[in-house]
Subunit: 225 residues, 2 copies
């Protein structure tokens, strides 16, 4: 897999650091920053899977707000309307992981896309704020198919856009379950395992595992040079 | 909703106490009982949702084993083959919640079914061990449709069996997301909220909320008497 027709990146947790919400969670609810941020993120993912299975899709900003409301209630935190607005707005100002901007630039020989659960209204400002929007030729949202990852039709959006077969594209995500969905669809996969997490046991394996995007650049760009 | 055509019970967490696996988790891995049991259960559910969305169904015993393997690895525990077998077998000897056997007997004026993610090979011995199999007129497994809850076709199994419309059956579960799936399908719902958990934010509400099955008996049987 030296020369993919395109490199397709997940956004949240892969390019953009969702744990950076812990800072504002901590500022608003001292002592609860990590617990609130972690539970919020986990329920956000779970609600995206559950609503997809139920056939009750809503966009990711709604899922994100619903998950926040659950997490606040579970931790018995009482937000003001200002707290709630500030927490939700933090998804528009997520920090990129440190190596991401330079790594995307170094991959300029390839078409680079984002394929994300986020709506365009969430993704465009967030990727612009993170300083990486200009490095991407397209930002594809699941809103085009009305179901969340890891449903196969989401991954199909990438190959439709690239005009290639699944085995000609490379999908990169830090979410093990997202890698499993992409591999099940037939994409080449690179799991960005930043935290040394164990493999998700979903019956499919990532082809490549790297610790950060710089390592992927080393694999793709050195081989090409 | 005084006289349902049938009462449809979830099994795991509703009739059978999955947290009773914590005892054997603790016996095998001292100090890790709750952490292992909790992570195992959460991944078990998540894998059922993810595999359903990926179109990669396997039965619940496989999902349960895969989730256990992830949880053990995440906690850096090294099981022997005997540990692993003992932990998986604990799903066949779950304790019923204390009020469940008597409550099911008191509901004998109604047709009582189980509708569960478990395979029949898991459910039949577990419900027999718990002493409640004789109180149930049918045990319906998602294996008949090859997808897990909360996909609508699972809940359809219950109304097919009962030969009634969705709004004529009552679904009872302690899992808030399962209640949301049943409500989205059109069943009457009773959320058995044993732990005082906050409502899951999935866009649908339970019609009834009770703290245990005895409370439901009081509502259904007293009204009928």
């Amino acid at each position: 897999m030296i020369n993919p027709a395109g490199i397709v990146f997940d956004a949240y947790g892969t390019l953009l650091d969702v744990t950076s919400t812990a800072t504002i969670c901590e500022a608003r609810f001292p002592g609860f920053g990590s617990a609130l941020s972690d539970l919020w993120r986990r329920r956000q993912l779970e609600y995206s899977w559950l609503r997809s299975l139920m056939g009750r899709h809503v966009d990711f900003s709604r899922v994100t707000a619903d998950a926040l409301d659950f997490a606040l209630a579970a931790l018995e935190l009482k937000p003001s309307e200002d707290d709630r607005t500030a927490l939700l707005r933090s998804y528009l100002t997520l920090a990129p992981f440190p190596e991401v901007p330079a790594a995307l630039a170094q991959l300029s020989a390839f078409r680079r896309l984002v394929l994300s659960n986020g709506s365009e209204a969430m993704l465009e400002p967030a990727l612009t704020y993170a300083g990486v929007r200009d490095q991407l030729q397209a930002v594809l949202s699941v809103e085009r198919v009305g179901v969340f990852k890891p449903a196969p039709q989401v991954y199909a959006l990438a190959v439709v856009h690239l005009g290639c077969a699944p085995h000609e594209a490379l999908f990169v995500s830090s979410n093990g379950w997202d890698i499993a969905g992409a591999a099940a669809f037939g994409l080449h996969t690179c799991w960005l395992n930043r935290s040394g997490a164990p493999l998700e046991q979903l019956g499919v394996q990532p082809e490549m595992v790297v610790a950060d995007l710089a390592e992927l650049v080393g694999m793709l760009v050195t081989d090409d040079a």
